[in-house]
Point group: C2
Chain length 382, copies 2
Amino acid sequence: MSQTKAKSSVGIVEPQSAYFDEPLLLACGRELAGYELVYECYGQLNAEASNAVLICHALSGNHHAAGYHSEDDRKPGWWDAYIGPGKPIDTERFFVVCLNNLGGCHGSTGPTSINPDTGKPWGPDFPPLRVRDWVHSQKRLAERLGITCWAAVIGGSLGGMQAMRWALEYPDMLQHCVVIASAMKLSAQNIAFNEIARHAIQSDPDFADGHYLEQDSVPAQGLGLARMVGHITYLSDDAMAQKFGRDLRRGTLDQGDENSVEFQVQSYLRYQGSQFSNRFDANTYILMTRALDYFDLAREYGDDPVEAFRRAKCSFLVISFSTDWRFSPQRSREIVDALIAADRPVSYCEIEAHEGHDAFLLPLPRYMEVFDAYMQRVGVSD
Amino acid sequence: MSQTKAKSSVGIVEPQSAYFDEPLLLACGRELAGYELVYECYGQLNAEASNAVLICHALSGNHHAAGYHSEDDRKPGWWDAYIGPGKPIDTERFFVVCLNNLGGCHGSTGPTSINPDTGKPWGPDFPPLRVRDWVHSQKRLAERLGITCWAAVIGGSLGGMQAMRWALEYPDMLQHCVVIASAMKLSAQNIAFNEIARHAIQSDPDFADGHYLEQDSVPAQGLGLARMVGHITYLSDDAMAQKFGRDLRRGTLDQGDENSVEFQVQSYLRYQGSQFSNRFDANTYILMTRALDYFDLAREYGDDPVEAFRRAKCSFLVISFSTDWRFSPQRSREIVDALIAADRPVSYCEIEAHEGHDAFLLPLPRYMEVFDAYMQRVGVSD
């Protein structure tokens, strides 16, 4: 961590952990007897506990949203551009909480944890989760931290789904809901891409029907492929063109041996895929993509999003990105339309950005301005 | 084949085959000593041999473009909607030739053929091919059939690339060039999707570094996955939504056991994937996608498509489809712009269609009208 970094950084942070021994009834009907949640906090909770902000992570995210884990740490948390002193989620004003979701693979109870009933890793037997299960478990963490109402619940992509579900499940427990690059439900195309990702994992012989940990193996090829599919769909065609064009990594097109020739995008994708399989758990990836696929905001409200949002009491900020084709601006406008029809206060901004879905993670000036302006309006002492 | 079908059908057709023993020098620098091409013909070649039309197939196509192979045949050739008596490619006027490309797996010499030097299947050792190699081998077939100039060379997608390459390699050998849903080169995103397809195949243990035939195995999982990826990208998001929505195949979302629940799109994709792996060869799929990736119309013309098209002497019809995101209308407009700048006669039509890239195979009224009107202008006795 350099001095420059440190200036607007939350600095060195230490993950914390909370164990909950009260059983959690899940949407699937099964019950989790107890579970651990790993989380990080940035900033100070004020005396009224009115300045707390919850950050909900997306598919492959975790609790490490900002700061560094050590002096030698080269990369900050995944949303460090937006969380810190003077940043949109200003840690001089807010007490920021980010947790690794239940079912995750970065410390919270999930498929890699030991199932107390068997003494073996849960693996594929970990109960399927829905977005609401995360919201329910996050509520317990709020209680544990002495937070009765969030100043804001914020999330991008799958995180935005959690933020919206918070507004419906616990309408009195949040003042603001920030939904970035998200959707009320996935399109068939989105589900299809997730299906390919799962199929790639499940058809890797090293997956062993999900029991790979017991066999001391990892379905690296399948998980790598899944990540490659995801990666392409998170980038826009334009962004890929700008990033790689058709540049060759080595060799020339004229050579007879094709194995000596590669496009940059190919080696990049293979690298991304193999890196991901080192740091992520395959069962967790399956679990998370299924939670995405099954999310349907309005299903229990007669499939009427207006009816659903009538339950909400908070204000909303909805942000989309022009070249995001996985969670297109059209999906965000549907959220906004439903909020307006339900008479809920909503601000909406479509950011011109060529980076596709990935834009929500990046420090883009316009996005930062809009986000910052909105967060300035979030009161911390009401 | 029903009576109704028969009315506008070319009827029962029989594939033919031609063996060429003159060595073919390939773009990669290697030489193919001899090769066989399987093809079908529909209609009658006229006395001047001036009414011949060449159909170039796409990635997974073959020589069986129209008609039926037997009375019991339930499905006609892949472009039967466009080839036949009274259809846009009217077999009462034209003599239509469609071949399985070199490197294919439907009868022409390719990776599944026996390498005379080893007595074993070529497998992964089959020489890599470029679009120009196909054009060169197609020219020899033309000569064999007594055709010195095609009335038209026609192709969609990868087939359109062949049609364009024909116009540059043998400018005196075609009167018209019809380029449907194609591009002068792939985008990085397109290459990335192909890379995922290849990676899926190559990481299937049954692929055995491409020598699966010798081991009497088939990389069915990998090839199935590759097809699933392709299939999604050939359909528009809208088309998938219309086809499947988020309908469940069975089970309900509330059940705890996720394996009892599937979205229709999931079972559809798995079915498509497994069907494809029964009828297509994995090494051929790799070879074909590489030919796609490496195609770059203007590379040898100083990367200037205008300079490239100045070689052409034929007239062009370019067609694109509004929701085709794999070969978007923008790519077709680039072809048209270059043709205009090169002073070549060109007609262009962007067809409103919600089917994505797959639209080029489908009998859409507007597409049919435009195609038919253009083909009426194609002279057969000049």
